[in-house]
């Protein structure tokens, strides 16, 4: 009985958060239209989504990690993206088939994420310090491996992933971001794994006592986050046709902002991936709009920083529902 009422309650919050985010999307759309005359057209808006593909992918991973609770956070996502991209570039440069290289890159992302997860979950290190260390370590490794020079030995056919269009919609959105979102969203809502994630996020101890292998679940969340960052690296490499060692710079801020704005409670166990996707759309519009309006990208940092603080405080005090 209690479970049922909880489920309804959850749905209620969920639907209202979605409503709030849709409103915010509309507001951003209006502001950006005023800022730039080129902003509002179907072609421009559909084209814009390509800027959001990587943000969305990384944010989905970040959201999962934060949902897992116990101070879960992954500050290393940007660096994992950079390093995965560099690994991809190096494999291709070494003459490996591009698709095989992509698969190896995914495995690499999974392993890197698992290392974070292992340290945090099994050794019980605080996530924010481990991933700050990892942020610098992996980012610097990407730089060291390339000497700071982008690798651009990708075959022409590879550009399809990040630059192709079908019905004016970027391929990476249609075939990578949306399917992944749908799968992950389904997993989180309908599978045992998803329920366990919410469970350990709400109360880790209780979840452990009820027989859930909390450590394994948490490790998996970081592994998924690492894998999604590697997918982001593949998309970005194809988009730029180059693996830049600083490709993921600053993505941790974007991913955390997107997650928190999307309604993922920073304490864990609350929020949905649909919120994350809608919030990623808002952040993408802001970034794209500011670019079109020719406003220095550095102000994007300020907007993101403010938005992050605003979103956390809003989640706490106004309890949007």
């Amino acid at each position: 009985m209690q479970l049922k009422s909880e489920a309804i309650d959850f749905k209620n919050i969920f639907s209202n958060r979605i409503f709030f985010l849709l409103g915010l999307n509309l507001l951003t759309l209006i502001i950006m239209t005023f800022l730039s005359p080129y902003f509002l057209s179907l072609e421009s808006l559909l084209g814009m989504t390509q800027f959001g593909a990587v943000i969305a992918l990384i944010s989905l991973g970040e959201s999962l990690v934060i949902l897992g609770g116990e101070g879960g956070i992954d500050l290393s996502v940007g660096s994992v993206l950079s390093l995965s991209g560099v690994i991809l570039g190096m494999l291709v440069s070494a003459g490996l088939n591009i698709w095989l290289a992509c698969i190896l890159t995914l495995i690499f992302g999974f392993i890197i994420g698992s290392i974070n997860g292992f340290l945090i979950s099994y050794i019980e290190m605080p996530a924010f310090v481990v991933t700050v260390g990892a942020l610098y370590a992996y980012g610097a490794l990407a730089m060291v491996l390339t000497g700071g020079i982008p690798i651009s030995d990708f075959p022409d056919k590879f550009s399809f992933v990040g630059q192709g269009y079908i019905f004016q919609t970027p391929v990476q959105i249609l075939f990578i971001v949306l399917p992944l979102y749908l799968i992950l969203n389904w997993v989180m809502k309908n599978t045992d794994f998803g329920r366990k994630v919410y469970h350990i996020g709400v109360n880790n101890k209780a979840a452990g006592l009820s027989g859930i292998d909390t450590k394994k679940i948490r490790l998996l969340l970081y592994a998924i986050s690492g894998t999604l960052a590697a997918i982001g690296a593949i998309v970005m490499s194809s988009w730029l046709m180059a693996a830049r060692p600083d490709a993921g710079y600053g993505y941790e801020l974007q991913a955390i902002t997107v997650s928190v704005l999307g309604g993922i409670s920073i304490m864990g166990g609350e929020g949905s991936l649909t919120g994350t996707m809608l919030s990623a759309l808002i952040i993408t519009m802001i970034a794209y709009g500011l670019q079109l309006a020719n406003i220095n990208t550095i102000w994007q940092l300020a907007v993101l920083g403010l938005l992050l603080l605003f979103a956390v405080l809003a989640n706490k005090f106004f309890d949007i529902n």
Binding site: V129, V132, Y136, I298, L301
Partner: protein, 330 residues
């Protein structure tokens, strides 16, 4: 061997076990670089190591306070930048240096206070709060600098680079501040509150400690210390670089963690941090002398953070086990 270690421990009892560990590591490091590089072991080189370590050493005191409370502050580099620009502008406008110092301290405390309010009263996790302000101030730095360096600041603070009876004045400043905060954390009520909050915030609150207020004061202290570091920076550089403070949070966190402060809070000391600062600066210097590309530096420091927490966690577990064993035996 064990006996020797015990004797050493008794002699250096003020150091504690963690600090002794890092001291031994530092000595090994110095011996290592003395052997593998030619120019490491010289007074001139040590002097340059100390000179460059001033900002980091001062900021790391503040970082120790927040990590002791189970928090973190990644905004220190950006705060340093904003305050340094502020100082430069005031000095170039011809303000009296003493007034500049006071205003800089106030600005630093204010910027730190914002973090403190967010963490204490807003209940925002420290990493999120300071990540937000870090990027906000970073944008402000870019906006104020407009893509150019500031140079030609009147050298009123350059006396920090000089020596007083053979001892670099910046070194005297570092030791004075570390002594002050060793007293504050070990002998004063404020320090005990910090440790109490770090050990268990809820217990601290129940014990009557005003947790929110203490948090705000601590983050203000971090800000004020960062302002002092900004003064030292201006004294050393005579201007402001665009990349000012970019690596400072990483290095300060590393210094604190390597210095034996528990990443989960409640355990550690500023003395360990000072040794951690020296450890990092000696390593940077050694890497430079070995001719390894400086890109490696960040990678090594990042990995060192993770390894240090790992060692700390393992030794904690052992300590706990042996304590439990003793209890069981009794």
């Amino acid at each position: 061997m064990n006996n020797l270690f015990k004797k050493l421990e008794n002699k250096l009892s003020f150091l504690g076990r963690r600090e002794l560990g890092i001291l031994i590591m530092l000595i090994i490091e110095i011996v290592f670089f003395s052997i593998v590089t030619e120019f490491f072991l010289s007074i001139g080189n040590f002097r340059s190591i100390l000179m460059t370590s001033v900002d980091l050493a001062i900021v790391s005191i503040g970082m120790t306070l927040v990590i002791l409370m189970g928090g973190i502050d990644v905004s220190v580099g950006s705060v340093l930048g904003v305050v340094a620009i502020f100082i430069s502008e005031l000095l170039m406008a011809g303000f009296n240096p003493i007034i500049v110092v006071i205003l800089a301290l106030i600005l630093g405390a204010l910027l730190g206070g914002i973090n403190g309010l967010l963490v204490g009263y807003g209940k925002v996790p420290p990493i999120i709060a300071t990540l937000g302000t870090m990027n906000l101030w970073r944008a402000v730095i870019f906006g104020l600098l407009g893509g150019k360096w500031i140079s030609g600041v009147p050298p009123v603070f350059s006396f920090l680079n000089k020596s007083f009876i053979g001892i670099p004045i910046s070194l005297i400043l570092i030791f004075a501040l570390y002594f002050l905060f060793w007293v504050v954390t070990n002998k004063r009520k404020f320090g005990r509150k910090i440790y109490a909050i770090g050990n268990n915030q809820e217990c601290a609150r129940l014990a009557g400690i005003k947790v929110k207020r203490t948090l705000v004061y601590s983050y203000m202290t971090v800000g004020a210390l960062t302002a002092i570091a900004a003064i030292a920076y201006i004294g050393r550089m005579g201007g402001v670089e665009i990349t000012i403070g970019n690596d400072l949070p990483l290095q300060a966190i590393a210094a604190v963690i390597i210095g034996g402060t528990a990443a989960t809070g409640g355990k550690g000391s500023v003395i360990g941090t000072l040794l951690g600062v020296f450890f990092i600066n000696v390593m940077q210097n050694g890497i430079l002398l070995l001719g390894i590309p400086s890109l490696w530096e960040r990678a090594v420091i990042g990995i060192l953070i993770i390894v240090s927490i790992g060692i700390d966690m393992m030794s904690n577990k052992k300590e706990k086990q042996s304590l439990e064993g003793e209890l069981n035996a009794a």
